[in-house]
Homo-oligomer: 312 residues x 2
């Protein structure tokens, strides 16, 4: 936090899963003194969060949780994106005059549209965000303070967003160890369709197709570490990835169409035995992947046997 | 080795790359006392192998290397599969009367066909093999004795293959720490088209398509660990994967066709907003991948920062 920003007194985190819990733990590790209120669907997960001192108080979503936002300095929406409209509707008119709202959704155009439709006068204090971090584990117990260390957090402020609100949210993420970048929501959705949502769909589609084959057992017996890494993201949450795929439908379908055309090209090279063209494709891919790997070192903040990051 | 099998006196390894060098090191670690002769294209790599005591003697492929096979107990072909025909032609008629020949090629029907065409009277002593191990690193210096620990090695003997030759080769791989399985060559090629060759083509195709886009720099900046794992195999050798794709062309094209149909199905679900169908696909994939991961623990024989296995 900047020296002259007043200290936060109350943070409300809606959805105390991996991201929400890790944000809370990272804030506390950075010296955050605000009361942290966790809002959630299930008693058991909230109890886990209380027992681990992730949150100070727990409120069930079925109660009048939105009353908690009236005196909150910050509300972080870290629930599944499909629930956002209901959350925004419940908060609208209840938010304090200075309460800043942000989110951790993996898609941004749909979140911006929902905020624009429902937040009313509070819209200028809404800062859409997307922390590029995660693991394949879920729930408050999966949270850890180092999750965002060295990761990107993308903010996609609107033309009407108050700059001080953006800066406040950015400071909070920097305190978690993250690097904050800003993008237009449409550019965000296009980029993540390409580098995250498409690969997830490709991996899920491959594993499902193999699993449904009569010889699935033989096939999986011989799968090794290339398969392990390629398909790791297919172990992710079906609910979450269903929501992301549908929320970012237009950009994802454009990527799928382009990718299928690329597969057609490569299949034609293999079919024609076009050694030169095929090797050129593979060589460009190999060079690009090696260059990327050299510039982006693997995360080191997580122990080797601990949770692995899974970009959303 | 079984107690009654005579000790080997001489092993010739053609191609002292990652696999050939690791086989030699694993044999020595298991107490192998045979002289190990390395045959290769390049002086520098052979010198590396000599300096690291991977091999006892080095012979250039451009010399009369096949003379070395006359008194060899075992010849391991660990060169790129595209070179096998030339190697088999050179060996035919030079092999000792009891010399066993095996290979480490990633495809088996093409290797079997080449052996059948060129090995003549030595064919019954040819044991086609495929160690399911590797890393993205190449060359003798990348070799390490533990590479095959806990890995599968698939042997695809022919109807005429002498059982004692199969058993001898199996014992050698077991001494390297591997688990030996037998498959029909066509079944082998179909299985590995599905679990290895297809995923490699998918990863190479994705990275190349992204790298050729005008916004490649932006896209790669936001790629995170999901992308890292999904595309790691795209950093592999273009030459090797070109050869594998073409050597296993029929099976790979069948897999590509099936996969493109699967992508069409999934894209149609996303386009139609078919929440239930999409979640069902993702849930089946996630369950299958989690079950597979639980049954197949990640390799532990390699240090966390060391070479990562890359199935071929």
């Amino acid at each position: 936090m900047t020296a002259d920003a007043p200290a936060l007194r109350k943070i409300v985190i809606v959805g105390v899963g991996l991201i929400g819990a890790s944000f809370a733990l990272a804030q506390r590790a950075a010296g955050q003194t605000a009361t942290i209120v966790g809002v959630g669907r299930g008693r058991a997960n909230l109890d886990d969060a209380l027992n681990a001192s992730v949150i100070d108080r727990a409120v069930l979503l079925e109660s009048d949780w939105a009353a908690e936002t009236a005196d909150a300095d910050l509300v972080l929406l870290a629930a599944p994106v499909a629930q956002f409209t209901g959350l925004l509707v419940a908060m609208a008119g209840r938010l304090g005059a200075h309460t800043i709202v942000t989110d951790a959704g993996s898609t941004k155009q749909d979140v911006v549209a929902a905020a624009r439709a429902h937040l009313g006068a509070a819209l200028p204090r809404f800062v859409p965000g997307h922390p590029i971090a995660g693991t394949e584990h879920t729930g408050a117990k999966a949270g850890f303070a180092a999750l965002f260390q060295g990761r990107n957090v993308v903010l996609t402020p609107l033309p009407e967003t108050v700059p001080t609100a953006v800066e406040r949210v950015a400071e909070l993420w920097r305190a978690c160890g993250a690097q904050v970048r800003e993008l237009d929501p449409a550019v965000h959705d296009r980029i993540f369709a390409a580098v995250s949502h498409l690969p997830h769909v490709l991996a899920f589609a491959l594993v499902e197709a193999l699993a449904m084959r009569p010889d699935a057992e033989d096939i999986f017996r011989y799968a090794a570490s290339g398969f392990r890494d390629f398909t790791r993201i297919a172990a992710g949450s079906p609910e979450m990835w269903r929501d992301i795929a549908l929320a970012n439908r237009a950009a994802l379908l454009a990527e799928l169409t382009a990718y299928r055309a690329q597969l057609d090209r490569v299949a034609a090279m293999i079919e024609a035995g076009d050694v030169g063209a095929l090797e050129a494709v593979l060589a460009r891919a190999s060079a690009a992947r090696r260059a990327w790997g050299a510039r982006h070192a693997a995360p080191t903040s997580v122990p080797a046997d601990g949770p692995r990051e899974s970009q959303t």
